[in-house]
């Protein structure tokens, strides 16, 4: 009998073998294995055609090109645009050259970044924050002035803060592929390149808001949400509505009972699943306009899940509480999640900790 199943290619990434169809990129194959081996991506965005290859964050070492031709590739390759070959062996986190190159990419991206995270709306869900925290070094060797730009309003809903931009081109692809009549693109060259609109043109169409979602940093921000909230104080909830323009599937961000922001739903790699229209994003901010589906599943590692959903905003962070929390997270994830100090104090973990080192928690 003839084998009609599509032929799969075997790839080994950091020692883990995976079978993927031909044409898959190294990054996609690594993502199939899981976040442990998936290279970071600052510019690649799966829903956008042609994105990728620019930030060089996903550089990997190909130590064997394919089963037929097992020579290693001479340079590090951008995994987001390099298609796999059968029998390819890729080294990502296991190769010191790759780790080093990634460190330098973090450094390069940060030298002209203002590092104004404390006042940036994106803080907490910023890809550059995650990237530099995971792959960068704590210090900088850059002594010169950083490039700065004036803030610019592009359209009624969006503000461009070019100083923060890392020129990933995602918004340009979004504007090009999702919205009609692109009026925004990249001007100038080199480190003085900037995202901007054609002179005197504002972004004005129904899907322009999506550029905010695709922006990995806080360069494009929602003017209806600016400076209103920190992301870890809000609670994301999946909701939908009957929208004639888009799928209507969104995430509502609650602070208390108030919807403070509406965004598109994102997958675990921070990529938008379905683009939404401006009406949903900027104008429907009443709970009554939405059908709630339930809380969004947020990764435990994310700062968003560390929030107290607005309850404990004024409570002083208690060191013991924090420690107990982190301890039981490490031990077992299935145990009930305790918020209140009184609950925690009654828990076995807390008591055990106390017994272990009474001296350390001197307040008792």
């Amino acid at each position: 009998m003839e084998n009609t199943a599509p032929q799969l290619f075997k790839v080994t990434i950091d020692g883990v073998e995976v079978e993927v169809p031909p044409g898959t990129t190294i990054l996609q194959a690594a993502r199939k294995i899981g976040p442990e081996v998936a290279p970071p991506a600052m510019c690649y965005y799966e829903p956008l055609k042609g994105s990728g290859g620019k930030c060089r964050a996903c550089l990997v070492k190909v130590s064997a090109g394919s089963a037929k031709d097992p020579r290693p590739m001479p340079k590090l390759v951008a995994s987001c645009i390099t298609p796999i070959q059968d029998g390819m062996v890729v080294e990502n986190y296991t190769n010191p050259q790759v780790v080093d190159a990634r460190k330098s990419v973090v450094e390069f991206l940060l030298i002209n970044h203002p590092l104004d995270c404390p006042i940036c709306d994106q803080a907490g869900e910023c890809h550059l924050q995650d990237f530099s925290y995971e792959h960068g070094v704590g210090t900088t060797r850059y002594e010169e002035d950083r490039r700065t730009f004036e803030k610019e309003d592009i359209g009624p809903y969006i503000q461009l803060h070019m100083t923060r931009c890392i020129l990933c081109y995602r918004c340009v692809y979004t504007a090009d592929q999702i919205t009609e009549k692109r009026v925004h693109g990249v001007m100038n060259r080199g480190d003085h390149a900037e995202i901007s609109t054609y002179i005197g043109q504002a972004i004005d169409n129904d899907f322009s808001g999506n550029v905010i979602d695709v922006c990995p940093v806080g360069a494009l921000t929602d003017k209806t949400y600016r400076f209103k909230n920190r992301v870890w104080f809000s609670k994301p909830v999946d909701a939908h509505c009957d929208c004639e323009k888009c799928s209507g599937k969104v995430q509502l961000w609650y602070r208390g009972d108030e919807v403070i922001r509406v965004t598109a739903r994102k997958n675990e790699w921070g990529e938008v699943k379905e683009f939404i229209c401006n009406t949903c994003r900027f104008e429907r901010k009443q709970t009554s306009e939405w059908t709630i589906e339930g809380p969004t599943k947020v990764s435990r590692a994310s700062v968003i899940s560390a929030n107290k959903y607005g309850k404990n905003l004024v409570t002083k962070p208690d060191f013991a509480l924090k420690l107990a929390e982190s301890q039981y997270k490490k031990i077992d994830d299935d145990r009930p999640y305790l918020h209140e100090m009184s609950e925690i104090q009654q828990s076995e973990d807390y008591k055990a900790l106390m017994a272990k080192d009474e001296k350390y928690f001197g307040h008792k």
């Binding site: 990728g52 290859g53 330098s104 020129l167």
Partner: protein, 444 residues
């Protein structure tokens, strides 16, 4: 041996009639009437001519990589976006003898089966564009261009396209983007232009000088061309000589001439200007590593260095350099290497397209650090920082501009580290106008 510049001083050679009288367009007749496309490709392959734009990739091989799917047009694009500091050979060739390029374009297009070919000229050279357009009109009137060339049924349209004046558009995929009317950003490779190039069709991009050699190759045969030169560096090469020499200009040399002869003989550069000494040489345009004079004349093993692809790169980046595009810049002892390196870095910062992060941020960073050192505000760890930045850029970028920006800086520090240190240790002396670090051992 003069192949490209044989008739360049003939009065009126820029007109069709004079060019024709001097044996012009015979190669087109020979190729189209008697040879056929495959034979032309075979002849170019035999000649072993290597791309003259800088990378030195064998042209015949590049042509044979061209994908030939059915029903898809193929394009030939001539890269005349020559903007490397120190290189001005294509400009010289195009303005003086435009028909040589046109003839080469017809032969090459015929060989590749392209019915529409482009010459992408950098925008600053508007008058050259007018010269080329005039030459194309003349060739068309004589029946060498347009529909049914020489009654063979082969059509060719030749289009001259001015660029916007960006150095990055000399990179082949950025050139194609620019030609398509987009922002000149280099594309990710693969796919290579031979598979998906201009308008996603198979495309060959060649330098002006490479294309111009084809007419001689067709007239005289690939083997005759391969007999000139040395080893794998066959044929002749135009060298744009500039800097502190007695006779700056464009010279056509047989590859394999010794560097000493090229620099000092009266036939070529005529030596370093009188009363001065050779300090350093940039042998192939600003992007190749700079070498001190003694390493330019002799390799690290003490052998004579020759003007050829292999000999100049002998010793790797530690002691060698590259032939590149032939932008030959000579520095005597009055040249400050730090200032020169800063100048190159400034150029690359300005010309980086800003697409990939190592190049975009790294070129600017290097320029700023070099600026500081040059103006007496550097510190010792800045030198190691520069080396480190250049290492982090090199090889990690989309296109070779990152490498081109990193090599001059890395090589300058490798060979002239004491000069950088002097700038840092003696900031007052070093920032005095015209102040130059003197160390006799590097002077030749």
């Amino acid at each position: 041996m003069k192949i490209l510049t044989e008739h360049i001083n003939t009065p009126g050679i820029e007109t069709f009639d004079v060019y024709r009288k001097k044996g012009g367009y015979t190669a087109v007749e020979k190729a189209i009437k008697t040879m056929g496309p495959d034979a032309v490709v075979e002849e170019v392959k035999k000649s072993g001519v290597r791309g003259r734009g800088g990378a030195g990739f064998p042209m015949g091989m590049k042509w044979s990589f061209l994908a030939k799917p059915e029903g898809v047009p193929r394009y030939l694009v001539c890269n005349a976006d020559e903007s490397e500091p120190g290189t001005f050979k294509d400009h010289y060739l195009m303005k003086n003898i435009p028909h040589l390029l046109i003839e080469g374009m017809i032969i090459s297009s015929y060989a590749l089966g392209a019915n529409k070919s482009f010459i992408y000229v950098r925008g600053e050279l508007m008058y050259v564009i007018h010269i080329l357009e005039k030459a194309i009109e003349e060739a068309k009137a004589a029946g060498f261009l347009g529909k049914n060339i020489l009654g063979s049924g082969y059509d060719l349209e030749l289009i001259v396209q001015p660029g916007g004046g960006a150095y990055i558009c000399g990179e082949e995929t950025a050139l194609l983007e620019s030609l398509e009317g987009k922002r000149g950003n280099p594309r990710n490779k693969p796919p290579f232009p031979a598979v998906k190039g201009l308008y996603q069709c198979p495309t060959v991009v060649n330098n002006v000088e490479s294309i111009a050699t084809t007419s001689w190759i067709i007239n005289n045969g690939g083997e005759a061309y391969a007999a000139i030169g040395i080893g794998k560096s066959t044929g002749t090469k135009l060298i744009s000589a500039s800097g502190h020499i007695n006779k700056p200009g464009v010279y056509e040399i047989d590859l394999g001439v010794s560097c000493d002869e090229f620099l000092n003989s009266d036939e070529y550069c005529g030596g370093v200007r009188k009363g001065h000494y050779l300090k350093a040489v940039v042998a192939g345009g600003s992007s190749v590593p700079i070498v001190p004079g003694h390493l330019f004349l002799k390799t690290a093993n003490g052998e004579d260095r020759l003007m050829s692809y292999e000999s100049l790169s002998d010793g790797g980046f530690a002691t060698g350099t590259m032939l590149g595009s032939g932008g030959f810049i000579v520095f005597d002892e009055t040249a400050c290497i730090v200032r020169n390196t800063w100048n190159f870095a400034r150029f690359y910062e300005h010309e980086s397209c800003g697409q990939c992060s190592p190049c975009r941020e790294g070129t600017g960073w290097m320029q700023k650090v070099l600026n500081r050192i040059e103006h007496g505000k550097g510190s010792m760890h800045d030198i190691d920082l520069l080396v480190d930045i250049s290492k982090k850029i090199e090889g990690n970028t989309i296109c070779p501009l990152g490498d081109a920006a990193a090599w001059p800086v890395a090589s300058a520090i490798r060979h002239f580290r004491d000069e950088f240190e002097w700038h840092i240790k003696e900031p007052i002396a070093a920032t005095r106008p015209g102040a130059v670090y003197m160390k006799e051992s590097v002077l030749v």
